[in-house]
Subunit: 331 residues, 2 copies
């Protein structure tokens, strides 16, 4: 069957609100630097927002950032995610469509509002995320555009979606649809705390062959495999997973494919804001895999995309990624 898309992602549809913060603020608020924590009420979100410095709003969401990257690289991408009928929902929809991603999910009327992620950027460029899931947690299985999923080489899902109940059920349905159509399922573990909450589910999907391509950073992989031995974790996670991709911050990234390991170094860059580094690395790899690019080159494409993202504030690419790839890693 013909495929209209390279990658269709399902993810939280979030607008990021980024502001600078000192390390002391992160400590006082009892946050774990570099992690994502959920805020369960709008009041909690408002209270934190009131304490934050003046910020800037940029569309975000992990899987949404990834498909925006795929589209920026010239890939064909779609996105499924729930926003509310409000201004931030309009911003999210505008921005993802403006990057060339097909986005057809119908907005949800009434409360809660569109998801927002309050991101505190510390002087070292690390981001500490506080997410109010809002409308995003009410993505029902009925909102899935199943034709879009069937028409895509890869269905890409984020671990974050396992937190709220409705999207978790929707994900399971989406996986069925993709598998029935003979498509690959790619998955990102998202966050260490997310693995603490849903590790059993994730391990089952890794072991039973549900996940064809797995993305994780090193900490997440170790948490998933319940070990502190990277080599053991690679063997464990790669067993039923076709392609395993592990990002390692300034140590670069590695991939396992057919028991062969590929390592790529990180690209030198002045770190401004690490938000979206993993998302854009995944974009490069997914673009490559779906466009007949060898895996080692796909990893280099991911590294260039990640370097672009962390050189500025916000998790969506600003530079022309196609031109950047041609310049940095000529074919």
């Amino acid at each position: 069957m013909d495929t209209k898309y390279d990658v269709v992602a399902i993810g939280n549809a979030i607008v990021d609100i980024l502001a600078d913060a000192d390390d002391s603020f992160i400590a006082e608020e009892g946050m774990t630097k570099g992690s994502m924590q959920l805020m369960f009420s709008p009041e909690q979100a408002d209270a934190l927002y009131a304490k934050m410095k003046a910020g800037q709003e940029v569309s975000g969401g992990s899987a949404a950032n990834t498909v925006a990257g795929v589209a920026a690289l010239g890939g064909r991408a779609g996105f499924i995610g729930q926003v509310a009928d409000d201004q931030l929902g309009q911003v999210f929809a505008h921005d993802i469509k403006a990057t060339g991603v097909d986005y057809t999910t119908v907005t949800r009327a009434g409360e809660p509002s569109t998801a927002r992620c309050l991101i505190l950027v510390t002087p070292d460029g690390q981001r500490t995320m506080n997410t109010f899931l809002g409308a995003s947690q009410f993505l029902p299985a009925s909102a899935l555009d199943e034709d879009m999923i069937r028409a895509s080489k890869i269905l890409y899902l984020e671990g974050y979606l396992w937190d709220p109940e409705e999207p978790r059920a929707a994900m399971k349905r989406a996986i069925e649809v993709a598998k029935d159509a003979g498509r690959w399922v790619a998955f990102t573990l998202s966050d260490v705390f997310c693995i603490e909450r849903h590790g059993d589910d994730f391990r089952r999907m890794v072991d039973d062959g549900t996940i064809d391509i797995l993305f994780a950073n090193e900490k997440e992989l170790l948490a998933l495999c319940q070990t502190d031995d990277l080599e053991a974790a690679l063997v464990r996670a790669h067993k039923e997973v076709g392609v395993l991709v592990v990002t390692r911050s300034e140590q670069g990234a590695l991939a396992m494919y057919n028991d062969i390991r590929f390592d790529v170094p990180a690209r030198a860059v002045d770190v401004v804001d690490t938000t979206g580094a993993g998302d854009l690395f995944a974009a490069g790899v997914l673009y490559g895999i779906t466009n007949n690019v060898p895996l080692d080159r796909s990893m280099h494409i991911g590294a260039v995309c990640a370097a672009e993202i962390i050189s500025h504030v916000g998790a969506r690419p600003r530079a022309d990624l196609k031109a950047l790839i041609a310049e940095k890693i000529p074919a």
Copy 2:
């Protein structure tokens, strides 16, 4: 009487939506590059937004940017401007308060929504602005915090407010309040097209002593004085205006005070986005004037603030302006 504030500004309360655009797009849309044009309906705003690239949202508004700069420099500032009871209104209120500016204007229920300015940033860093004034055009005189105006050394107004009827009336009332309290009135001409629309009003205020401190860029000053001779315009505008400040892009800026001319060069900087350069120059000068800083040094402070703003996207300062001044122009 004691003054609680150095500067209280009245201005449009706007959230900027900034996106990159090619020169060809500006031409196709029939826009005048570097200018501000008004959009009179939400439909017009939505139609342009739909054609724009993915953007980022940052609080803006000319006079609001200026008081945010005054506060960032350590000055005491207040702001008066109308937002709606919506998400962009919350963003605006949060951001101006987070910079340390007092902001007490009550939100306005119902339609229209909070003002937004669709800003197209061309590769040369110039910004072409398309403003939907929304709630901002309904600032009534009754919304003025007159105690705040009386308690400020300087009342700062933007020419843009002369476009909509209610704020124009509110400005006239605000000027009365300030004058009765023996305060100075500072005014920015805002935009050449704005002068085309309201030049008679502006000339009257320049000639009858209403305006104590006048800010303009070179083009605006020439338009106001209906001449193309800068020297003649300086003499003409300075007659009844105590301090005349003229910004001249890469040629720096000049001030006239007691018939003496002060020139300052522009600071070398990589131009990313010129949005807010004039606003922040005014911030430096107003901060200086209200804090016993000599006028020539105040102008240098303005130049450093303007250079900071144009080195990044968005019209609110990101760097620590106090530290920057101490580093760049030690006392």
